[in-house]
Symmetry: C2
Subunit: 193 residues, 2 copies
């Protein structure tokens, strides 16, 4: 059963007690998501933390020209949410869309707050989870302000080798902040070396 995948995810941090597992199970909903289906759209409030059992998502903004800018990919055993919108209850500027058919577990804000309040272990585990995501983001910012597009692309390939196979280059280009045409040129340069 899919809840077990979430429970073993927490085993990497402070493992849950039976009581905590039960309370968590009672507050979580499983969903199948089709490819290209959205679990968050611009102007909506993000009401869930979504844990991915299987599949792949992207979270992105769309600018005035209609160009997508991908903030995050997330696959199996990762959380995805617009946590700004989630915590402020303000409309999001972001979309979260399934790139592959996916299965997810979702928890609503009121339920998450319940867990935080009654079982401090969730505060602990999510503190550590978000610390790790923070570290990743910091590295990405550093790359963005200090490296060329080619370096960023190489880093992406090294850091997410499995992801790069599952994604079209268009979306990798969007993630590293360049156009698909320029990525194509970069790939051509690399292959000549």
């Amino acid at each position: 059963m899919t809840l077990n995948k979430l429970i073993s995810h927490f085993d990497k941090y402070l493992p849950l007690s039976s009581k905590e597992k039960e309370e968590l199970g009672d507050r979580i909903t499983e969903k199948k998501i089709r490819r290209r289906q959205f679990i968050l759209s611009k102007y909506e409030v993000c009401r869930f933390y979504t844990f991915i059992i299987s599949g792949l998502f992207k979270m992105y903004a769309v600018d005035k020209n209609g160009t997508e800018h991908i903030l995050q990919f997330a696959s199996e055993n990762e959380w995805i949410s617009d946590i700004g919108s989630f915590h402020s209850d303000k409309p999001s500027r972001l979309y979260i869309e399934a790139i592959e058919p996916s299965v997810v577990l979702q928890i609503e804000k009121s339920n998450l707050l319940y867990l935080y309040t009654h079982f401090p272990k969730f505060d602990r585990n999510f503190r550590v989870i978000i610390e790790n995501k923070y570290i990743e983001l910091e590295n990405r910012v550093l790359q963005n302000i200090s490296s060329t597009a080619e370096e960023r692309y190489q880093t992406f390939l090294e850091q997410y080798p499995q992801l790069s196979n599952r994604l079209p280059n268009t979306q990798i280009a969007s993630y590293i902040g360049i156009t698909p045409e320029f990525l194509s040129k970069i790939r051509n340069n690399i292959s000549k070396k």
Copy 2:
């Protein structure tokens, strides 16, 4: 006394009990930091979370050409740390340097872990603190991959109006990921409008 500044900082989240205040006070060290003094250098392990009572710091990497790339500024009532190095005990690639004479409170890892373990409120409060920093960083990444240098500069001025007065433009340029010369050109363009 400076500890009170830290205690009121926590009041914005879940306020501390007297016991928690006492335990916190016992585990924190106050330091005066001179301008240009480093509280973290490359190759050192980052051993502290540093809370700023007064003053201003920058955290940055230096590339092969000797160019600084500023990841973060932090001033009064903010935390600064290389949390990647702090949690992994691995040498940092970053410097944290005082831009102004400063007063800080520092807590060592073992002491922070003690507080986390014995007083779950610290897990809670730091979870929320880092969530907010995560949201800020996400916005910065989005800007970096989707906006021009001029837009990033304008956003910086709007988002940190007080900071922009305390910083030389060189450092603002580094933070938004451009050269000082190009920032100068941008400022010239803006003033012509």
